[in-house]
């Protein structure tokens, strides 16, 4: 017996586990399908968390508890894994996203200027989502298009040999407006990625 099948067998014993609730939420149904697909194997935690993020857009405390119960893992383990990997996020992303590659080639060719240009044009900080939820400015580890540096993604579409104005134009075209001038955005603190994580993880080092 190979290891994979050994673990599968261990998982099969639990395939009658209670389904994710609420049953009338289509997202819960999708998650159930995913859990069944991995046969409730504890070692599939990362795959399940990817699925949760695909389905719900982000990871929340409630769903993490559900996952912990379904995979029969201690909640502290689930949170530990979820917060270890950078791709998991604890807050909903903005309607539009601009992701600047910060790989070495892009660094050498001015990724900083791209970041700053977008940040200033739309009033959104690095790794932040603007208070109105219109746009998130994120950074990516090398996306492996170094020959085209500097590179950014606007709503997932690669912009090669990018210039700041080009990104600003692309985001404007996608429908992102400049920040409100009356300082409303100042009054309302920007949603930092960490804040929501802190809600899930109170007492966490901010």
């Amino acid at each position: 017996m190979t290891m994979a099948s050994e673990h599968a067998a261990a998982g099969n014993a639990h395939s009658d586990r209670a389904p994710v609730r609420p049953p009338d939420d289509p997202r819960a149904a999708l998650l159930n399908t995913q859990l069944k697909k991995v046969r409730y194997r504890a070692d599939a935690l990362i795959e399940v968390l990817h699925a949760v993020q695909d389905i719900y857009g982000h990871l929340s405390g409630d769903v993490l508890r559900t996952v912990a119960d379904a995979l029969e893992l201690p909640p502290s383990r689930v949170l530990g894994v979820a917060t270890f990997y950078h791709l998991f996020t604890f807050e909903p992303r903005g309607e539009h996203t601009c992701t600047v590659c910060t790989g070495t080639a892009c660094f050498v060719k001015g990724a900083d200027a791209l970041m700053q240009g977008v940040s200033e044009a739309f009033g959104v900080g690095q790794d932040e989502t603007r208070a109105d939820g219109a746009v998130s400015l994120l950074q990516a580890r090398c996306i492996g298009s170094c020959g085209l540096a500097p590179v950014a993604l606007v709503d997932g579409v690669v912009v090669a040999k990018a210039k700041p104005d080009q990104l600003v134009a692309a985001l404007r075209a996608a429908g992102v407006d400049a920040p409100a001038a009356d300082g409303d955005n100042e009054a309302e603190a920007p949603r930092r990625s960490d804040d929501e994580a802190a809600a899930v993880v109170p007492g966490g080092a901010a």
């Binding site: 201690p74 502290s76 383990r77 530990g80 917060t83 109170p202 966490g204 080092a205 901010a206």
Partner: protein
């Protein structure tokens, strides 16, 4: 089990095979500094304070996680090791807010004692300007994250000895921190059995009994170690029966 003979700091030491350098050294009266190692729970080799030089190896090895071997030549207290330990301890002080004067563990703190022993009389790194709030939600215990040294003794005692898995490490790198269950206040962590093992193994004042004031730490650190040792002895007897 066959024994081995090795040299530790120029002293000939006999040790059973499978023992760690740290254990062998201790029996020979040589105290190798360390924070994450705790008898009775698994070895992680993470604090790196117990690094020792082993002749013939390119870099120092953690004494807690290196098994003795015959004819091994170990040095635990060279000038270089001492200097590294001083730097490492300073890093620990700078990671949190370690203010002995107002700490429950003052006078009974392993970090404080190590600093004095190794010769850390000031800290060259700047502590972070972070605001970490205490968790006093548990009815009997408190947790001050600013005093945590991430030795994970509590995590291992909770998982391996109590079996509750309440404590875990969340976050990564410098953001790594302890969490109870899904990060809710400790008092609301449903898996916690309030057994207090985590508090007893904490080398510093991060986990403490409520109602104890500066320098009043009372719990016995050897509790978990003796518990595990007793358990192993008893189960060995069971097998013999």
């Amino acid at each position: 089990m066959a024994g081995v003979t090795l040299m530790i700091d120029g002293v000939e030491v006999e040790a059973p095979a499978g023992e760690s350098i740290m254990q062998a050294a201790r029996r020979a009266g040589i105290n190798v500094p360390g924070l994450c190692q705790l008898d009775g729970v698994s070895v992680v080799g993470a604090c790196r304070l117990c690094m020792v030089e082993v002749a013939g190896t390119p870099r120092p090895r953690p004494a807690c996680a290196t098994t003795v071997a015959d004819a091994m030549d170990v040095h635990t207290d060279t000038k270089e090791l001492r200097e590294h330990r001083r730097v490492l301890l300073q890093m620990l002080f700078a990671e949190g807010q370690h203010i002995c004067a107002v700490c429950v563990a003052n006078g009974a703190c392993e970090l404080q004692t190590l600093a004095a022993e190794v010769g850390v009389d000031h800290v060259h790194f700047t502590p972070p300007a972070a605001r970490l709030s205490m968790d006093l939600s548990h009815e009997r215990f408190g947790y001050d994250p600013s005093r945590c040294v991430l030795c994970t003794r509590c995590v291992r005692a909770c998982a391996e000895v109590e079996g509750a898995y309440t404590w875990g490490v969340a976050g990564r790198g410098r953001e790594a921190h302890l969490v109870a269950d899904l990060g809710q206040p400790w008092g609301e962590a449903t898996s916690c059995t309030s057994c207090g093992k985590c508090v007893s193994v904490c080398p510093v004042g991060a986990l403490f009994e409520k109602g104890t004031s500066v320098g009043e730490r009372r719990v016995e650190r050897a509790l978990v170690s003796s518990l595990t040792a007793r358990r192993q002895r008893e189960s060995a007897r069971e097998v013999l029966k």
